[in-house]
Symmetry: C2
Subunit: 458 residues, 2 copies
């Protein structure tokens, strides 16, 4: 690679030292390799393993790090002779080692000699995963099945990555800033766009122009009720809401994750505004509650309660709010969790299953209203979480005869039918837990309906 | 998937029938699966295998086709219960089978029962490749090592895919049209852009807005001498040339591949114009020569000869042009081949090594001036090729002491130094071989220097 951005070797050194206090065995972390697209030389953009990035700071391809007692060894090969012709001058291994503060650097062929008693984490690329097993001379199961030193390593890394140091926060803030710019560009583009794809183009162009990429497949859709919609072919019609869940990833790998829902016409209908304000009330109540020590599950419950209360006020639900939430009646309209960890991954450390998201001893519920809750831990200063309540009319849920019968008595279906122009609304921000409460990294982007209407006018 | 675009089942049926005339064994083709990016649920965009796309017409994930005697069986699973919530309503297997004109459709679990004596082609995704071997109960080597029915299948598919039917041409023309629009947008963006990345953003936004993607990693660089540069961080300075090699891929997989080189200031310097006109002369001479029966290697030689002549005229080379080309003196400045096949892959069928690019019995030369020639066949009507001569000052080549000494007597290094503001120029179009000669699918984009300067002004 070319060294086109700077890293902070002191921050990397501190991460290694913190890790050394948690484990007493050596560790080898692989960066992974490019995935072939339609043939070997035509690849997807390279994305290094997040665990590697956390300790290396640089997205090196086909590289490995060995960590032991705070010391860092870098294993990678210098580019071959033809590489300069096709890919330009590349930084040498020794230059990269110096930049990241490594204690030593070796070619990859030396790595097997350092394999003894080393823990690792399975990477996503199948061929690199096979190399992990070959070099360590043992199976390296995916983390749900990990045990022994691999599991101990995963727990130690979770401990470190759960809260963000200043170097990480600088990158996360940058990703948040560019994401806000992308949403501003998207809101401006709606006035002239004829399709979802055109709005998506305006937003992603902001990332490309700043050498960032999408942290996840963008959702830009008039079918906001499809939670992970990756289709962009619909025409925009004047009565539609457009839901845009689009986040940047910095070149160093750190991510942002933001959603706004805007009226295609530039003005919310009264029914859209009514529901929008319910979701916004949940968003604001959740953020107000964030501080160290608070259980994230309680914040999720705040979202559920606020949404249930709002729907009672609108006449869509009837009953006592606490009872409705206990019945998961809110989940008919807000089925997912109120958010998740955010860091080097948009669902941070989801490659480790629920090891990061759920505190030790806790397991994911299979209850309708809780099974998609991705975070269930007490908050700590330095954690970055998303807050993303929503309201959706999902045909697969609302038309399910069993569910319809179960909730027959608490839903006013006729009243609900009056809100047919609300398919899906989500409002999502990235919130840092601070010593004194919270800081919304994406606060520059308006949330309230009037401010959004104004933003859309430029 | 959702069926968001139409396919032509009659065209697919004709492809199957043509294949059935070439082979007498059953064939199973796999589409492949998504590559995990940083964790399993966060994936790269799916790209189906090109061989699958050729016969299926649709980018189905985790699907397989079985072809026998012109009959098509589709194997895929319908989406699970949760899928509607997260990904929306998906077309059912039977609906998709109908759309593509399949004769029967089965769940994937039925595929092993149909494995007898079937040929296949190795896909790029390592896990799908493992599934191929498991289901066929035998090794499936990559095509360079293929033999028996797999090699016979690869040869038959090469025969079909070498020339394009009307359905393919409709898609290729669409990709070419959108690519021309992207280059026009890029040329306009240069006036205000401060970095390579900003021009790239303007170009790729055109693809995204039309639900297309990049057929290959874009090259948008002031270091045009780096042939496959994937860095976009440089600032644009007034004296620079900006080389943009950017091509669209339609949702059906068909590709375009276009390069233009433009002056950042909006006006070529006299030295830049001199070299530009040499490259353009080569481009035009090659296209003029294209017709059925002509050897592509001869067209490559035309490019070499025209460039050598131009450099002699400019005083950069001395000697007889034919001698200079025989010495590979032109290759100091034009090291790559003049182009390649274009179709479902930007280097079409490069997953098959040189099986498509080189006529039977021909092998790639290891000569300096020929080793990067990707196509060496007589042209046929219906072939689509790129024509992409260039001029580059590659430090790794020009400063190589051995090469410098070998070419000491034919290069006027002092004269060359006067062209220091020309790092890399390439002009690339997509050219269809027709019965009567050729048709440039990307002709709407200007090539001559004055027309480019005008295009940049809008």
């Amino acid at each position: 690679m070319q060294l086109t951005f700077s890293i902070d070797p002191e921050a990397l050194r501190q991460r290694r030292e913190r890790l050394a206090k948690l484990v007493d065995f050596p560790i080898i972390l692989w960066s992974g390799q490019r995935h072939a697209r339609n043939y070997p030389a035509n690849t997807y953009p390279f994305r290094a393993s997040s665990h590697f990035l956390y300790f290396a700071g640089l997205p090196l391809e086909n590289a490995a790090l060995r960590l032991e007692a705070g010391k860092l060894q870098l294993f990678m090969d210098d580019a071959g002779v033809d590489s300069a012709l096709w890919h330009g001058a590349m930084a040498k291994r020794d230059t990269i080692a110096l930049a990241m503060g490594a204690d030593a650097a070796f070619p990859l062929s030396d790595l097997p000699a350092w394999n003894a008693h080393a823990a690792t984490i399975a990477v996503q690329h199948p061929s690199t995963h096979a190399a992990q097993e070959q070099i360590l001379e043992r199976p390296v199961p995916a983390v749900r099945a990990a045990e022994g030193i691999d599991l101990a390593l995963a727990r130690a890394i979770v401990h470190l990555r759960l809260t963000h140091d200043q170097a990480a926060l600088a990158e996360l803030r940058q990703a948040a800033t560019v994401t806000v710019q992308a949403h501003q560009a998207g809101m401006l583009a709606v006035a002239h766009a004829k399709t979802e794809a055109q709005v998506r183009a305006a937003m992603e162009a902001v990332f490309i122009a700043q050498n960032m990429t999408c942290a996840y497949p963008s959702i830009v859709t008039i079918q906001g009720e499809v939670l992970h919609n990756e289709q962009y072919h619909h025409a925009l019609e004047s009565g539609d809401l457009l839901l845009a869940d689009v986040g940047a990833e910095a070149a160093t790998g750190w991510a942002a994750d933001v959603t706004r829902t805007v009226p295609v016409s530039g003005k919310f209908s009264s029914t859209q505004k009514d529901i929008y304000d319910v979701v916004l009330a949940a968003h604001d109540a959740c953020i107000a509650q964030i501080q160290p020590g608070v259980e994230y599950a309680d914040i999720h419950r705040t979202a559920c309660t606020t949404i249930a209360q709002g729907l009672v006020d609108l006449g869509i639900l009837h009953g006592q709010v606490a009872d409705l939430v206990d019945l998961d009646a809110h989940a008919l309209f807000f089925v997912h969790g109120v958010g998740h960890l955010l860091g080097l991954d948009v669902h941070d450390m989801e490659d480790l299953g629920d090891l990061a998201g759920y505190a030790p001893g806790r397991q994911r519920s299979d209850r309708f209203g809780l099974k998609y809750l991705r975070l269930n831990r007490p908050l700590q200063a330095g954690m970055l979480v998303t807050i993303e309540p929503g309201f959706y009319q999902v045909p697969a849920l609302l038309n399910d005869p069993e569910r319809r019968s179960a909730y027959q008595s608490v839903v006013n279906w006729d009243r609900l039918a009056q809100f047919a122009d609300v398919r899906g609304i989500r409002i999502e921000d990235d919130v840092l837990v601070t010593e004194s409460g919270s800081e919304v990294l994406t606060a520059a982007l308006p949330t309230n309906a009037a401010a959004i209407e104004q933003q859309m006018q430029g």
